[in-house]
Subunit: 155 residues, 2 copies
């Protein structure tokens, strides 16, 4: 079912994943976008502030986006269109071979004043590893089409 | 020259780039991490809220990270270790073929209370396209080693 602003009620939770971090994919991502030694080399990882080879925090975010795009939230009418992120934090390093899962909570929403056919929905993202430990969290404002802009949609 | 906390004085600006968005690389990134039709298909992009095929906002961030890792800031003693991001905003869509550049401003810093050998430095990231338009901005707290933890390093 296609999702609209009206469907994203505060308190609703969407679950997603899992996805396992493929070591070759982690190497490719780091080589392309974050080629720091602690993302590419075991010995450099051991000697780093992380004490192990860890994946780029940007790839943890990208994997969480992958999970989001295969979750029920991918059915939003106008797609997943991010407006802003806040409080993006990496709580635990992620290592090649780890398995991630994610939860997306609807925290709040408001209609757009300038474009009544749309609203802004606030999501909280949480990404966990296979031990249930929180590895990343963030707050994300997305742009969501209203099903019934001229009607009596819930505020 | 290796950079330490003492070197990252508020007001200092680091420039980076340029990098051109390779269409095949944009397709690969979207396929792997953000497989929404408006990132993969011209016709779907035209019909979307963007009015054009655009790259994933996560890839704009990843390209900016690539530029950061080849800037002078890559010489930070302990590497580029992000603690938190805030106010991540995408101001203009980025299209395959666009050329990006970036600036990183030191906004502030403070010594760590719990670990005197480190401090937290606040950076403002700004990413521009080939027309000089701001396409992405964010605030980033990074973890930086102190050169002289027992001495009289500038506060």
């Amino acid at each position: 079912m296609t999702l609209y602003f009206e469907d994203l009620k505060p308190g609703r939770v969407f679950k997603a994943g899992p996805v396992t971090v493929d070591p070759a994919e982690a190497h490719d991502f780091a080589s392309s976008y974050d080629p720091q030694a602690f993302h590419l080399d075991e010995a450099a990882g051991l000697a780093s502030v992380f004490g192990a080879m860890v994946i780029s925090g940007w790839q943890t975010a990208a994997y969480t986006m992958r999970m989001l795009t295969s979750s029920e939230l991918s059915r939003i009418a106008n797609g997943l269109v991010g407006l802003q992120l806040d409080k993006v934090m990496w709580h635990q390093p992620v290592k090649p071979g780890d398995t991630l899962s994610a939860e997306f909570d609807v925290m709040g929403r408001k209609h757009s004043r300038s474009k009544p056919a749309f609203g802004v929905v606030q999501l909280a993202w949480r990404t966990f590893n296979q031990h249930g430990e929180l590895v990343m969290s963030l707050e994300n404002a997305i742009w969501v089409a209203v099903r019934d802009p001229d009607g009596k949609a819930a505020a």
